[in-house]
């Protein structure tokens, strides 16, 4: 795990410095027009004129001390910038995952039970629609319809009271959930099918247990495992999707921070955000492994 984290940060540090461009120059806007001389002065103060290996070693030693460094763009601590946004991204992705599960599980299970009927066909077509729509485009369409024409929901930003917050969470999380919805519905359906064909489920049915009872008591827990696998496996993809969605909906998350920082050449912010991404993926995978053992006690850590 540590070599992995080290590899990821080193790769990111190298990659982001390969991109041509100067962070100080990019801070400039209409209001503050800097000459080349002024830019050089600021770079000096921020240590950006030092050779790259020096900057890298400085970054690593500081990181070991728990200091992520300073953002060039905002001049505040990178850890502050990340911690301010991390909860927002977690709320957004977790809500999306919940939405996915709430929608995908029933749809997938019903279509498995009604295999081959029109319900199955309709559900699977719907699932495929979900994965076929460009999410950012869908987000803007939702915003137009529900934010402007119907005026039911806020278009961008975050509400302050819990109710407003929940309302402002709806559009971005629905948009984001689209990325996984189709895939999880499919998996739910096929793993349910698979489990239904297993011997012990057949046996349970043969023993005369009611079909409903069999489905929920015996089949469902086993069908959950592939679903869990796919949700955790796609977690990184979900974070990637959050990048664009956060941008469109003005959601203050770390995905948006990462992309803004790439374009602002805010080197330490990019490197550390990717580090946090990697840690999140690792944590999610660990959590999944633990969940496995709860769902199916036969699975044990090795």
């Amino acid at each position: 795990m540590i070599p992995l984290v080290f590899g990821v940060t080193t790769a990111t540090f190298a990659l982001i410095h390969l991109i041509p461009g100067d962070p100080v120059e990019l801070m400039m806007s209409n209001a503050r027009q800097l000459t080349q001389e002024e830019i050089h002065r600021i770079r000096d103060k921020l240590g950006l004129n030092d050779p790259l290996p020096v900057q890298y070693v400085r970054y690593l030693t500081n990181l070991l001390k728990g200091d992520m460094g300073i953002s060039v763009r905002s001049r505040s601590d990178v850890s502050y910038e990340i911690m301010q946004r991390l909860p927002d991204t977690i709320i957004l992705t977790v809500t999306s995952i919940c939405l996915v599960l709430v929608l995908a599980l029933p749809i997938g299970i019903v279509s498995a039970l009604k295999r081959g009927t029109w319900i199955d066909t309709a559900a699977m077509t719907f699932a495929l629609f979900g994965v076929s729509i460009p999410a950012f485009w869908f987000g803007i369409m939702l915003m137009l319809i529900f934010g402007l024409y119907l005026d039911w929901l806020p278009t961008v930003g975050q509400g302050k009271t819990p109710i407003e917050f929940a309302r402002s969470l709806i559009l971005p999380s629905v948009t984001l959930s689209l990325i996984l919805l189709g895939l999880v519905t499919r998996v739910a359906r096929s793993s349910m099918l698979e489990v239904l064909s297993l011997d012990y489920v057949r046996t349970a049915r043969a023993k005369g247990l009611g079909a409903k009872w069999v489905n929920f008591r015996h089949a469902l827990p086993n069908a959950l495992i592939p679903i869990l696998t796919i949700v955790s496996g796609q977690f990184a993809a979900l974070l990637g999707g959050a990048v664009v969605i956060e941008k469109v909906f003005g959601w203050p998350g770390i995905g948006r921070l990462a992309v803004d920082a790439i374009f602002a050449r805010d080197y330490l912010v990019v490197t550390n955000t990717v580090l946090v991404f990697a840690l999140m993926v690792i944590v999610v995978n660990l959590a999944t492994d633990i969940l496995y053992t709860y769902i199916d006690p036969r699975i044990r850590f090795q």
């Binding site: 041509p20 001049r75 934010g147 278009t155």
Partner: protein, 533 residues
């Protein structure tokens, strides 16, 4: 005068009186309270030494007092009630308004335990910027600075080594020296920008990065603000922000509004479109020190081959302004008629100029060659709208005269890097607002000097004008600079566009359109008509 005309005039009078009536010059608000939500596309921590971004300054200029504000292009008093300038323009004596208090009820000054803002605070703030080599104090001011002194609690004397004609300039003057409290700076250190403290009309409440900044009215300000609360909401996606504006989720869009939306809002009777009053030019720069760009005839050909005015009109919509030159209409140094003189659409002329230069299509493939080799010119631009469209239009225009132009669109950072390396090619570029902008662009060490835009005569003219306090001769110097830049560089122009911001009509007594965001001044006090919302 026929009936229709009379009616129109009558209607105008009614509208005018309605719009003027609620002005709250006497400090009385037609309606107290209310939250003013401002949409901006970026926001950064609010330390005046490091905040380089326009919209961040909107908040700083309301949290902190400045010596003066800019209103309708003119300096008006703020922390300084009045000021005198010595005959030679080198000594400024600022008279500080008595009774201005630092915000209280915070970590530094508990409720009721604030102290008065004095001349010493002003001196501290100026030196804080001057001493920090990396602060964004404009070089023009830094180079002239001699000293700042508090002669008593309410008098500051600022001494310069020469007159500074752009000390009031939006982009490079003293406007950016917000007055800060030493106690706050020392207490928060590098985190001051996250906990700004000032003496302006609004107090800082909270800051969530990439999300919002909340300010509330400062009751101790010398004018009582009508608004209760001001919120800056960060909206990175402009089309989404436009929807939010229309839905009333934000009350004012404080950043640049795309041309097509301006057109739509002009037709919307619930919205008011506000002109920032500083047209920005879109033009081409090129590596003028390398062939074939070093030959003025080639630059002329590039200019005449395209219908710049039509392209600009199509891409900028109602914000389009015909013209060319370093300064736009209404800005010091503007010269009329430069577009028609230098940039009119004339592909025949462009082709004959290219022929004259020996850049001809000798192998008959439809593209011109130089020195026997296909001339393929890269065109560099940044990747946000409408830059790619200007590139598409230029590529298309080039094809019409047999000039092969290869688009090279990249994100702004990469694009800047190419320019700093002086890479061979043409660059889509924008002018900068105001005189300070002209200096920072074309002046010594200017933004595009790396491309070979180095001309002593232009430098001298700009240097002289920056230190010339006589309006008339200064205007003449600036116009001379504009004319010379046009004549020797021949920077192919498309035209100008106006910066427009848009507000909902229930925001009253708000005129926007300045770098200092003036919500509460002697003449204006912004309020929200909740009944119309």
């Amino acid at each position: 005068m026929n009936l229709k005309t009379v009616l129109i005039y009558a209607a105008l009078v009614v509208v005018l009186s309605l719009s003027l009536a609620p002005a709250a010059a006497d400090g009385h608000c037609p309606q107290e309270g209310g939250t003013f939500t401002i949409g901006v596309d970026t926001f950064l921590p609010m330390d005046p030494n490091t905040a380089a971004h326009d919209w961040t300054f909107y908040a700083i200029t309301n949290i902190n007092s400045m010596l003066f504000r800019i209103e309708s292009g003119q300096p008006v008093g703020d922390l300084a009630e009045s000021w005198d300038i010595s005959e030679d323009g080198t000594v400024y004596t600022w008279h500080i308004r008595p009774g201005m208090m630092w915000h209280d009820g915070n970590e530094i000054f508990p409720e009721g335990e604030s102290r008065e803002v004095t001349a010493h605070d002003v001196v501290y703030s100026i030196y804080r910027q001057y001493d920090d080599e990396s602060s964004i104090m404009a070089a023009d001011l830094r180079n002239l600075f001699v000293s700042a002194e508090a002669t008593d609690d309410h008098t500051v004397v600022l001494t310069l080594s020469g007159p500074d004609a752009i000390i009031y300039d939006k982009a490079r003057g003293l406007t950016f020296t917000a007055i800060v409290a030493q106690e706050a700076i020392e207490h928060y250190g590098d985190d001051y920008g996250l906990n700004p403290l000032g003496s302006g009309p609004f107090e800082f409440v909270s800051y969530s990065p990439d999300e919002e900044v909340v300010l509330r009215a400062n009751e101790d300000y010398y004018i009582d603000p009508c608004l209760d609360e001001v919120i800056f909401r960060v909206m990175p996606d402009v089309p989404a922000a436009m929807i939010a504006l229309e839905a009333g989720d934000i009350d004012w869009w404080g950043a640049v509004t795309p041309g097509d939306d301006v057109g739509r809002f002009l037709d919307n009777e619930d919205m008011t479109v506000i002109n920032f009053g500083c047209p920005v030019a879109t033009r081409l720069y090129m590596s003028v020190d390398k062939p074939p760009f070093d030959d003025v005839r080639f630059r002329k050909a590039l200019s005449h081959m395209k219908d710049g005015n039509a392209i600009n009109a199509a891409l900028r919509g109602p914000t389009h302004v015909k013209g060319a030159g370093t300064a736009g209409p209404g800005v010091a140094g503007y010269v009329e008629g430069l577009y028609d003189e230098y940039h009119s659409y004339d592909p025949e002329l462009a082709m004959s100029l290219l022929d004259e230069l020996g850049i001809v299509d000798s192998d008959g493939d439809g593209w011109r060659e130089m020195d026997g080799e296909l001339l393929e010119i890269p065109m560099f631009a940044w990747n946000s709208d409408p830059a790619p469209d200007y590139v598409a239009a230029t590529v298309d225009a080039g094809a019409q005269v047999g000039l092969k132009i290869r688009p090279e669109i990249a994100d702004p950072g990469t694009n800047n890097a190419r320019r700093n390396d002086g890479e061979w090619g043409i660059y889509l570029g924008q002018g900068w607002c105001g005189e300070g902008g002209t200096n920072a662009l074309w002046g010594r060490n200017g933004w595009i000097s790396t491309l070979g835009y180095v001309d002593e005569e232009i430098f001298t003219l700009l240097d002289q004008s920056a230190q010339n306090l006589d309006e008339e001769s200064r205007e003449a110097q600036l116009q001379a600079a504009t004319t010379r830049i046009a004549a020797i560089y021949f920077e192919p122009a498309f035209g100008f566009f106006n910066i427009f911001t848009v507000k909902n009509n229930y925001v009253k007594d708000f005129f926007g359109g300045e770098w200092t965001l003036n919500l509460v001044t002697d003449d204006h006090n912004v309020w929200i008509n909740e009944d119309e919302r």
